[in-house]
């Protein structure tokens, strides 16, 4: 590895970044997520932290441009130069520019924005190019066959730690998961409501706007991510989500469409219309859903009614919809989300959460919607 001549570096560890504009090649969420993940790569091996600004001057200003764009290094059209960035310092220093004559993608085809962003942000932090062909700071662009396998090389880690050291031991490890400062809604806000909740392979995903919290009951860890950082093709502001464990698939709903997601992959053939499940045309969207693995039935909640879907026969059952309050006494408000844990159903409605015992057929507790967030 090498550092810039005279080894310029940031004299602070809490840095700010701002995405000044966007490329038309990708959804904004995808750009947000690529940059966020690229910064996280460097954050994980240094004491540095990055918080996002949405206006004004940030340490690292990220922008897309073509040709002449106000510095002395004009871009050169498609191919050749993909991007460039400036070493740490004031003004243009620290900034990263991406050539919008490239075809920016989230996949391995075209020019992957995440991979180039990791490289350029390495420059923004003070790394120069590396002669190590395995290093992300090697000057020539190399795509990956499997982006999930991306790792910094030891050369990259040695380089950045020569400037900033490793994640310092004396940084107080937050006993509670510290919400990222750019979190749209503080997770411990008592007014927090949720869009959708689903289990996923023993964990629980709590969806809100463009993000989701991921809770592991095993480790009690709570992570916070952009939906697009895991599933770039999924929309934000979801309506409902549920897991069918026998299929190892989470079904995600928005409007009159739904997607099947297995692990990190959105399954082929989606989105599909919700009416393929047997809903009448009058149903434009669903509010919440949950699948009971023992009974092999899935319950869809729409306003004050619910439908039951037979997972074995793959069809909606006759005799539905029924009134929710009749079969789930005490659940008499519009539902935002629902999931099952420890034998209870947890219905979310605004900032409240109803714990429902399906055997006793009654609400056993009323909680805050964010009661799972260790607040």
């Amino acid at each position: 590895f090498t550092t810039f001549p005279n080894m310029p570096k940031w004299r602070k560890t809490q840095l700010t970044y701002r995405i000044v504009n966007y490329t038309p090649d990708l959804p904004r969420d995808a750009v947000d997520s690529a940059i966020e993940r690229a910064l996280k790569v460097w954050e994980e091996v240094t004491p540095l932290t990055f918080s996002r600004l949405y206006e004004g001057e940030a340490d690292i200003m990220i922008s897309f441009a073509v040709g002449e764009h106000g510095d002395f290094y004009r871009f050169d059209g498609p191919g050749n130069v993909l991007a460039h960035a400036y070493p740490p310092g004031q003004g243009i220093y620290g900034d990263a520019h991406f050539d919008d004559d490239e075809q920016w993608t989230m996949e391995t085809a075209g020019t992957n924005l995440f991979l180039v962003a990791v490289h350029e942000l390495g420059h923004s932090l003070g790394l120069f190019h590396s002669a190590n062909m395995e290093a992300v700071m090697y000057p020539l662009y190399k795509s990956l066959t499997d982006l999930a396998q991306f790792r910094l090389s030891q050369d990259d880690v040695d380089g950045i730690q020569s400037l900033y050291g490793s994640p310092s031991d004396d940084t107080p490890v937050p006993t509670k998961p510290v919400p990222p400062t750019h979190e749209p809604l503080a997770m411990c806000d008592p007014a927090l409501s949720l869009d959708a909740v689903s289990t996923l392979r023993g964990e629980v995903l709590f969806f809100k706007d463009r993000h989701f919290w991921r809770k592991s009951f095993r480790t009690h860890e709570l992570e916070f991510h952009l939906i697009s950082s895991f599933w770039p093709s999924l929309p934000s502001d979801l309506d409902a989500a549920y897991e069918v464990t026998s299929k190892d698939t989470v079904f995600v709903f928005k409007g009159n469409q739904f997607w099947g997601v297995r692990g990190g992959e959105v399954q082929a053939g989606y989105p599909r219309s919700i009416h393929t499940l047997g809903f009448p045309p009058t149903v434009k969207k669903i509010d919440a859903a949950i699948s009971n693995k023992d009974k092999k039935k899935t319950y869809f909640f729409v306003e004050d009614k619910y439908w039951r879907f037979d997972e074995k026969r793959q069809s909606m059952e006759p005799g539905f919809p029924r009134q929710i309050a009749e079969d789930f006494p005490g659940v008499d408000t519009k539902i935002d989300a629902v999931f099952e844990a420890f034998g209870f159903y947890y219905f979310f409605s605004g900032s409240s959460q109803l714990e429902f015992d399906p055997n006793a057929k009654k609400v056993t507790h009323i909680l805050k919607s964010n009661s799972w967030f260790n607040c």
Binding site: G79, N80, V81, L82, H84, A85, E102, H119, A131, P139
Partner: protein, 83 residues
């Protein structure tokens, strides 16, 4: 035998490309004379060697096909050697 015009022109284009690449990324001075008496020395040949070494190519000092291929590859716009 002298190379046909076309070939000469092609060679000139490659040479210009290489010269530009070396100026952009390897600090070759803009007015570097292309070749001096001894064909295996001179600033350009030295820079070609430096580039080949940095990018992990066989260090020949010549514009072989591997070197020409690398010069056309997409890359970062920051120089490989600094000042």
């Amino acid at each position: 035998a002298y190379p046909l015009d076309g070939a000469a022109r092609g060679q000139d284009t490659s040479m210009e490309l290489v010269q530009q690449y070396l100026e952009n990324y390897y600090n070759l001075p803009k007015d570097a004379k292309q070749f001096v008496r001894r064909r295996d020395s001179g600033p350009v040949v030295k820079k070609i060697r430096e580039m080949q070494k940095f990018l992990g190519l066989e260090v020949t000092g010549k514009l072989d096909s591997d070197t020409m291929e690398v010069i056309h590859k997409p890359r970062c716009g920051i120089p490989d050697v600094g000042d």
